[in-house]
Assembly symmetry: C2
Homo-oligomer: 203 residues x 2
């Protein structure tokens, strides 16, 4: 018991955290995002998410009602394209390509948001939830930004390209794209993406 007094006031930021529903909620959401990105909707367990947030599974259910609802709040409502749209139009293709080609370690310390989407897209339950989110928060805004009659199809192809690259590189880790250096992959993919952005309409 004495050891508790000797330890610093806020040691590993989890063990001695005072009871605080708001902080706990955030901790659970962060743990869930990481777990869903690493393992997908099905494989990620409520007990494991709870443990890595420093609580128990029962509390997670108490706060979010169900695993499905936790997924919605942690992942579906949490990826967006709007940040990438800032900047000159002629280089949007490059920004998008860099967005998916950067190593996980470079992605702001956390795992790539697209990973959670991709790793969970195969579960029918999660896919139904993601369907809405992808249209509302990625394809929709991107299409509106692009403009023109083919905007939706163009945005869809961009999403498909980014997801495909993420799939082959981060999930399947196919040798061809996993070991190649980022700049070379960028040289291939950025023009393609820019082509979807600025290419001519199909009659």
């Amino acid at each position: 018991m004495v050891y508790w007094i000797i330890l610093p006031a806020d040691p590993p930021s989890d063990t001695s955290r005072p009871r605080n529903a708001a902080h706990t909620r955030v901790a659970i959401l962060n743990a869930a995002r990481t777990a869903f990105a690493r393992q997908g909707f099905e494989a990620a367990g409520v007990r494991e998410i709870a443990a890595s947030a420093g609580v128990t599974a029962a509390l997670v259910i108490r706060y979010f009602g169900s695993k499905e609802n936790l997924f919605v709040q942690a992942v579906v409502q949490n990826f967006s394209v709007v940040g990438l749209l800032e900047g000159e139009r002629a280089r949007l293709g490059e920004r998008l390509a860099r967005y998916v080609l950067q190593k996980e370690s470079e992605a702001g310390g956390s795992l790539h948001p697209l990973l959670a989407l991709l790793r969970s897209a195969t579960n029918e339950q999660a896919a139904a939830l993601l369907r809405t989110g992808l249209d509302a928060q990625f394809i929709g805004p991107l299409a509106a930004w692009l403009g023109g009659p083919e905007a939706e199809v163009r945005a869809g192809f961009i999403a498909a390209t980014l997801l495909g690259l993420t799939a082959v590189r981060s999930v399947l880790q196919s040798r061809a794209l996993f070991t190649a250096d980022t700049e070379r992959l960028l040289a291939f993919s950025a023009p393609v993406l820019q082509g979807y952005i600025d290419g001519p309409d199909i009659s």
Copy 2:
């Protein structure tokens, strides 16, 4: 009971099948391919595969040793790019695009082979198996066919594009690409794929 006698001699082609290990094996493999394509490696259950093949789960394990081994024999050793490589080089992009854009109903009656790959790629156990299969049966042969110093990267991008399209269309069923007609999608994607095939090398 009388109804059985009235029914034709070989009714649903399953109930009255005589004992035949070879036929049963094939039936299990077919059922497994469909189940893995529809639900992915984890969600597809051995009991369900067995039932749809007209046998019990114990027999499936007896024949294939484990669910993992069943997956290898049903899916991993069963997708290949070689068929698409026949024909003129200038139209390979179009053939590849058609390969993934055709509706499931047009894909020879069965589900698209890429679906099983994609829906199972998120399971770490299955992904490890698919990693080898994708390189050995798709990217490898395609790269050898393409030739040139960048062949592997080009093949990787082609695989990524096809997987991405399949993901957005068949799994996420995003409105933008799900409702658009095949010919328009073909007009967008075929040139991109052909670009990966014939485009200039990156210095």
